[in-house]
Subunit: 386 residues, 2 copies
């Protein structure tokens, strides 16, 4: 298949590019390198040294025998992105080209605006480009499990759900509650894609993905093929951040009570899920929601897991909860449905959490000196109520 990846320089974007060429697909990659700049903006960098796109593409060709076509391009530019979509008419467009940090979106008005501007308008450009120039393209859009918030009902894996409101039944869009401007931008995206599906019949898979962890996939076999790994208070997600804290001999820092329950999956399982969703598209004109995760943990359970694995590597990590910078429930019900991926054979994690964490720590150990420089950027500085 011919697959265009928007945001191919990102954590999952690059790993997916490798998975797809390794399986014989043609990949067209697009990125404007914004994340590289924005991570430097907060004084941080990828934990694993990140090769240039050129180096990575060359190495990927050497290892997998296929060359990724790359375009340095901002999807906010409708003329350019629609020209590219018109030229390639890909079977699928995977859209990761969004500002993906909740704390970054909460810094100030400018960062909130940037997030809305980039995410919402990028998505609308892609929707229009597909409609006008490549109506058979399957849009695979990366959203987040965070769009749902933490409701008291079981989170359905569908666009609509039956409900009863003051005694009257109706089919409504699955209720959402974003916990940051970033999360709301994703909720807005979901609404916009669903609307485009209804009026134009755009074929779409809208992925609600949990936080991803890990440094490796089957294809990331050497450091010239590394994907980025963020760990700082703005760009890092919880497991990856804990692992860097352990490596640096810092305490592991759950936010608040640590009862925040989330749905997780490894990088390996994320790219394999994406590959199967691309290879098995919904029917033409269908809008498919996928709750993409393999396991559910509280952030405190994860701290305990990382602590235990670190010990095996001779690292003594303590757990020290810190004040929660976010506005979120710290003890709550959480039960998302999971049907689509199991039907595609993604039944459980391909590796246990302890094994995966062991692999992350083993990779990070080699870069301890590099990480020392970034001690100051691990603690959250962006506070939701400030």
């Amino acid at each position: 298949m011919k697959i265009m990846i928007l945001g191919i320089d990102g954590y999952i974007g690059w790993a997916l590019g490798l998975r797809l060429i390794a399986n014989g697909h043609d990949v067209i990659g697009v990125d404007n390198f914004y994340t590289r700049k924005a991570v430097r903006e907060v004084g941080s960098d990828s934990a694993l040294p990140l090769p240039s796109m050129e180096t990575r593409i060359k190495e990927a060709k050497k290892v997998f025998g296929k060359e990724i076509q790359f375009y340095n391009l901002d999807i906010k530019n409708f003329a350019k992105i629609s020209e590219l979509i018109k030229r390639y008419k890909p079977d699928a467009i995977v859209d990761f080209a969004e500002q993906r940090s909740a704390p970054y979106s909460m810094v100030d008005a400018e960062h909130a605006i940037y997030t809305m501007h980039n995410n919402i308008e990028g998505t609308i450009n892609v929707l229009y480009a597909i409609k006008q120039f490549s109506p058979d393209t399957h849009l695979v859009k990366m959203g987040t499990m965070g769009e749902y918030g933490t409701p008291k009902f079981d989170i359905p894996e569908s666009a609509f759900v039956n409900t009863s409101i003051n005694g009257k039944e109706d089919l409504i869009t699955v209720p959402k509650w974003g916990g940051s401007w970033y999360h709301w931008s994703k909720v807005h995206d979901t609404n916009d894609i669903l609307f485009a599906n209804k009026i134009w019949g755009i074929t779409a898979t809208d992925i609600m993905q949990g936080p991803v962890y890990g440094t490796r996939t089957k294809e990331i076999v050497n450091k010239k093929l590394f994907t980025r790994l963020d760990f700082d208070g703005v760009w890092g997600t919880v497991i990856n951040r804990y692992c860097v804290e352990a490596i640096l001999g810092m305490p592991l820092t759950p936010y608040g009570k640590g009862g925040q329950t989330r749905a997780f999956l490894s990088l390996e399982d994320s790219v394999e899920s994406l590959k199967r969703l691309i290879e098995n598209p919904p029917n033409k004109g269908e809008y498919r929601v996928v709750n993409q995760f393999t396991e559910i943990y509280t952030v405190m359970e994860l701290a305990n897991e990382v602590k235990a694995i670190a010990e095996k590597l001779g690292i003594n990590a303590e757990i020290k909860p810190i004040e929660n910078p976010r506005v979120e429930a710290e003890q709550h019900y959480y039960n998302p449905e999971r049907n689509v991926l199991p039907k595609l054979g993604i039944l459980k994690p391909s590796r246990t959490l302890p094994d995966e964490v062991y692999a992350i720590l083993s990779d990070l150990k080699n870069y301890r000196k590099r990480l020392e420089k970034y001690r100051d950027v691990l603690m959250p500085k962006v506070k939701w109520r400030d």
Copy 2:
């Protein structure tokens, strides 16, 4: 009170400015005159000749003895709008400064993007400016009854509603379904304001208003005080458009079956409702939803009303439904709650629909020659599925 009106050059913005100064309030007005340009862009203009802002402010001072402070400013400029809010610290900010046409938002990618860009980012700028520089300010934000779509349940007048999803009870945000990019931008605004209320305690009245009709309020006593009246296929709303069709001897043109049921109110009742909502703010830190309308009609019923009143003025108008350019239900349930405004004394229309339509037609009759130029812009050219 000191009240800032964002979008004071608009249909309701100007009429509200007059109502407020006539009642002794201080008014600071802001506009970037975008609507004047955008209406010309589709080859149309206000049905009633629109004086310059300068002329209107001078005349308003002569008639009401108070001068409106005016700033030509784009609220997308955070530095400028926050400086102004910081300087005045108004008791209330009324935000009309949005792209307000559904068809305009559906023209193409550029117009969709402009709508999202202007509406969502303008609102976020205002939220941040209030939070940082004037936290006691009451935000009065203009939304639309169109945010709800046409659900099978009775539309609650609240932010949240109790529901049962697959057997589990929860409080969810009132379900929404936008019928255009414009409508979705307003839904996104509502989510964003509600989120700002929850994390920062912004005091807000979020108004879901039905389509407004009419040329006059108590204060619009001469043509130097006219507010704009749009009637074309892009910028006009249904009653005002029917009235211009009648004046031009054209058939009245409901879209499709004409069973689309909407909640309406006159310009006079809109500005009086707004005045009372401003003078009676919610508690500090409260988010108040108002379903702002006085009557409910189908668009076919309205065509019949306009036809009947036109006859009294010697105009023989026929009704000729045209193909619906939109994607919307043409026969549906519609029952919105209405509690807030009745408690503030807005119990029913201050004038009957026939009297109000008679007044519109009487005003428009004087501008028949002016309207002849715009015959070609009445029919809808923007089609939702195109």
